[in-house]
Subunit: 444 residues, 2 copies
Amino acid sequence: MMEFLTGVKQKETVGIQEILEGDYKGKCVKINGAVHNIRDMGDVAFLILRKADGLVQCVYEEGKTDFNIKELKEESAIEASGVVAMEERAPFGFEIRLKSVRVLSKPDEVLPIAVNKYKMHTSLEARLAMRPVSLRNVRERAKFRIQEGLVRGFRDFLHSQGFTEIHTPKIVARGAEGGSNVFRLDYFNKKAELGQSPQFYKQTMVGVYDRVFEVAPVFRAEKHNTTRHLNEYIGLDFEMGYIDGFEDVMAMETGFLQYTMELLEREYHKELKMLDVSLPAVDKIPSVRFDKAKELVSEKYNRKIKNPYDLEPEEELLIGRYFKEEYDRDFVFVTHYPAKKRPFYAMEDPADPRFTLSFDLLFKGLEVTTGGQRIHDYQEILAKMEKRHMEPEDIASYLMIFKYGMPPHGGLGIGLERLTMRLLDEQNVRETSLFPRDVTRLEP
Amino acid sequence: MMEFLTGVKQKETVGIQEILEGDYKGKCVKINGAVHNIRDMGDVAFLILRKADGLVQCVYEEGKTDFNIKELKEESAIEASGVVAMEERAPFGFEIRLKSVRVLSKPDEVLPIAVNKYKMHTSLEARLAMRPVSLRNVRERAKFRIQEGLVRGFRDFLHSQGFTEIHTPKIVARGAEGGSNVFRLDYFNKKAELGQSPQFYKQTMVGVYDRVFEVAPVFRAEKHNTTRHLNEYIGLDFEMGYIDGFEDVMAMETGFLQYTMELLEREYHKELKMLDVSLPAVDKIPSVRFDKAKELVSEKYNRKIKNPYDLEPEEELLIGRYFKEEYDRDFVFVTHYPAKKRPFYAMEDPADPRFTLSFDLLFKGLEVTTGGQRIHDYQEILAKMEKRHMEPEDIASYLMIFKYGMPPHGGLGIGLERLTMRLLDEQNVRETSLFPRDVTRLEP
């Protein structure tokens, strides 16, 4: 008398892909979705069904169906029955000639914004305020399908390269990389903060698995409200041991980008086309030293170098422009950042310790990655901490890994929303975060 | 003169898999790794190299190598050169007869715990305190490879079923599901908390993509220190639209388990064998009503039902035992939980509104999943909130999705560490979290 679950239930309804691949012409099918749009032309009406992978045109002819189109509301969820017919002008080259409709759910009110228009023409502010429903717009949701592709590419590629996926805690003890831009919280009467990066943990895990990666939220309490900062974002992090230099890390990132652009081209073509995205060339990515990049830009664009140890956002933009104009490249690695601007664990360049064996990756003039080789020697990291007046006791469990031996290693962190933003040529990083967190925005 | 990165750098060193698959017998190779163990027998010494995917036996014979084994320390990172020879007694059936060793890094101190023993025989407390290095033990790290496999299985299976991966914020506005067990923080002078689950967001995204999933940290400020609770854990969450009932959700979870057990068998066989894990049968998973389960257990084990609306941990254990003894099953779905014990968004059973269309999945008597069908009608959810004295304004952006129309939907959340714990027959959930967070533990 006991009931058993034996696996995924076969549905009676069909999907778009099934219709495209199967022999459904002239056959009656059941298909479900949300009523995206109704164009009522009197005797005939077009009912556009919104499904996860696209829109399906359904045709209503009075007298041929057992329901009244006037009673159907947009954003109702329905199960439609009808006959598949070829129709060149319909989204996937077919339409459903409706026989009947079963209403699964109804909205309470009419949408206040034109979610069912191809382009919404609504301000970012308004779209964000209505995000839970504005994401139903086909172009809005296409962005996050492409974002999914970037994450899949990151994981699948690294897996193929012998990396192990890890999950590290986001509530961490106070005092580590610290500084002013951390969110603090009380953890059972202990002082805690939200992780600004999985840096210490991923380095730790290099001692365990040699190569590791993590995809997880990162928290930064930065107070400036810009078009490129979020206070919570998704970090694509990896860390690899047994490197010969930080160039190995850049090479691995190049491999990730190559793999991922191919994946997008192959599996996210529809979304790329919808958003009119041209994928950047990643067969070879130029690499330029930090000081050299400043010089090149200063010369070409006749711009004075104000601070030799810092890159201003405008300089990053100009570096991007330079490599676009001179080499037709959207990506450029900038290497050997000044030690002053890098965290204590960054390895200094033995040839000139004012600089580090580190890099940023700029994408159309915006930093989307920070990485480099890390110090692996215990005495060296202690000396570096002393120079920076840091207390070893504060991060004893991190230092433990060096004390007991760590291979040479390096890694990087990519900001997922920024990478998506540049890929889609968006002007504000909030466009590419499902539910962005900024200084004024805690909802939705 | 510009340098370019063109993709992953080819390494001179070989990996274990390469040696196993290639024609390396009698050939000289370079291989890197950590010195896991040195057994010095005088003229001959065995040097065990630890790599991500296993241990490699290297043989040192005095006079045949250009270095002194006495100078090598355990936990040094090295690059060894030597000749591959077949050797049945070595871990993968081969060993490396050393010619030379290049030391890449050295530890500062000797490990205080026997990481290089097959079984550590060290208390959980001691292992957790030393977690950054105790994870280097081959059996410790095998657990988290299997955990990786569970996550891969979850994602790959759901992707194949048309689910889209999403990333939702972990810093959320105060007031939602709330209660006492939330971590609170100040978010730019606004009251915020850490997400207890992605519930509202994943439901929201069903309106966008029909089927979605997320793998992300979940935070619970529960004050009890038990063997099955963590204050931060990884939630495997999915939510699916257009369901006919909550049975569709259970069927999907069954499919996930079937897919994943096969994946583990195929790709994580080495780790399963090392930890002596037998995979549970998942071809069919029994399902029993909550009230019926209480009855069965009460009858068979002669136990009084104290509270008909709650399952005590001991009762869960007995339900697990019952289905093991009667049906030889490790998993059992318990359905129709009392409405009182479920959140406001749970759909009540129209046949008896004291119960909900919901379920837990027990694995060897431990709850590893909670799921069910959700209310999708705007008026219905408002009425339910009123009954529970909740304020609609507090969660206006969540309620927005129902106001403007949502399909029938349901979903579930799986606790990754608990699932891993039961699979590996561990007795404490801290064993299966890389860096566990509990009431007293904020480090490492």
